[in-house]
């Protein structure tokens, strides 16, 4: 079930990491609301084109920008070109993320860097690159995709959890700094969500995990997308600096 937020129609919203998983569901849900979805892609032009087509088939406009969230230069260039020719971006979903599960004992410095650079520094750089543009936009809402492990920690995910926890401090600071401009910044902490990442788990492990979730099942990426749409819309106009868990009660 997808709620409709009429103010999302034609709102220009950048979603990073929209190629698959939760990010893709968010992009599709926003397209269904008639939003102009802007997504970034790294290499594959043909994949970007087919994502654009897929989104536009659902509704609204879609634009692919070629940049990596770890590359500040190409990011600012692509964003500046877009905002100059189309208009200010008034929604941002910092969703791009990577994970690599390793025991702390085996965690290598370059693995730490890769996770922090994409999940935390990447989100910070995209937000920074858009900050000037945000001052010209109206009703700006930023959503950072954190994780329940950023709140509760998880074995073998020390770096991932740290990067996700970092987003919370970042979001709260942005919320305070730009609140006077009616800009809002919030964090979503998904629990176990059905994606390629969790599909890779074996059945027994999934069953075990489900037992620890009060609602007794994994969430869907559409459920996370619904919450994201709500936070991007003016329906949540008095909500900022907040951290919302969407985890079926896993971390109560």
């Amino acid at each position: 079930m997808i709620a409709t937020y009429s103010d999302l129609k034609d709102k220009i919203i950048l979603v990073t990491g929209a190629a698959r998983g939760i990010g893709k569901s968010i992009a599709l849900a926003l397209s269904a609301q008639g939003a102009h979805v802007v997504f970034n892609y790294r290499g594959d032009e043909s994949k970007a084109m087919s994502l654009k087509e897929e989104l536009e088939k659902v509704g609204g406009k879609a634009t692919g920008l070629k940049f990596d969230v770890t590359d500040y230069e190409s990011m600012t260039k692509a964003i500046d070109e877009f905002t100059k020719s189309v208009g200010p971006i008034s929604g941002l979903v910092n969703n791009a993320g990577v994970s690599k599960d390793t025991l702390l004992l085996r965690l290598k410095p370059d693995e730490i860097s890769s996770i922090i650079d994409t999940n935390l520094k990447g989100a910070m750089m995209v937000t920074q690159a858009l900050s000037r543009n945000f001052l010209k936009a109206e009703n700006v809402s930023i959503v950072h995709m954190s994780s329940i492990v950023g709140l509760m920690g998880n074995p073998s995910q020390a770096a991932y959890a740290a990067s996700k926890a970092g987003l919370i401090g970042f979001s709260k600071s942005v919320a305070k700094e730009l609140a006077s401009r009616n800009l809002r910044s919030n964090v979503i902490c998904p629990g176990f969500i059905q994606t390629d990442m969790t599909d890779a788990l074996n059945e027994k492990a999934k069953e075990e995990y489900s037992k620890s979730i009060p609602l007794g099942r994994f969430g869907t990426s559409e459920e996370v997308a619904n919450l994201t749409c709500f936070l991007l819309s003016r329906a949540s106009s008095y909500l900022t600096g907040e951290v919302i868990k969407i985890d079926g009660g896993l971390y109560i």
């Binding site: 000037r132 001052l135 010209k136 700094e177 730009l178 006077s180 401009r181």
Partner: protein, 97 residues
């Protein structure tokens, strides 16, 4: 009106003064709109922080308005040196040559 660029210094300096006055008026008008302060109370000596109570974010926004209006780029580190209306007018004048 055709300007005589060949010899006479006087018309040229008048011409420059006009441009400067126009620039000054435009800046004051912009600042007045942005701060809701009566333009009559804004002069070259008006300080952004002391007289208009602007914070750093207000300053960034004001500079962005200046950039849009005058088609120049004001680098972030320049902004720190621009403390009064007069500073901005002088800066814009230096960029217009």
């Amino acid at each position: 009106m055709t300007a005589d660029y060949t010899s006479n210094k006087l018309p040229e300096s008048h011409f420059l003064e006009d441009i400067l006055m126009e620039l000054q008026d435009k800046v004051i008008k912009l600042v007045s709109e942005a701060t809701k302060m009566d333009a009559a109370n804004i002069s070259l000596n008006t300080s952004f922080v002391d007289d208009l109570n602007l914070d750093s974010l207000d300053m960034v926004e004001l500079m962005m308005k200046m950039e849009d209006e005058f088609g120049v780029e004001i680098p972030e580190d320049e902004t720190e040196n621009l403390k009064s209306i007069g500073d901005i007018v002088a800066y814009l004048k230096s960029k217009s040559h």
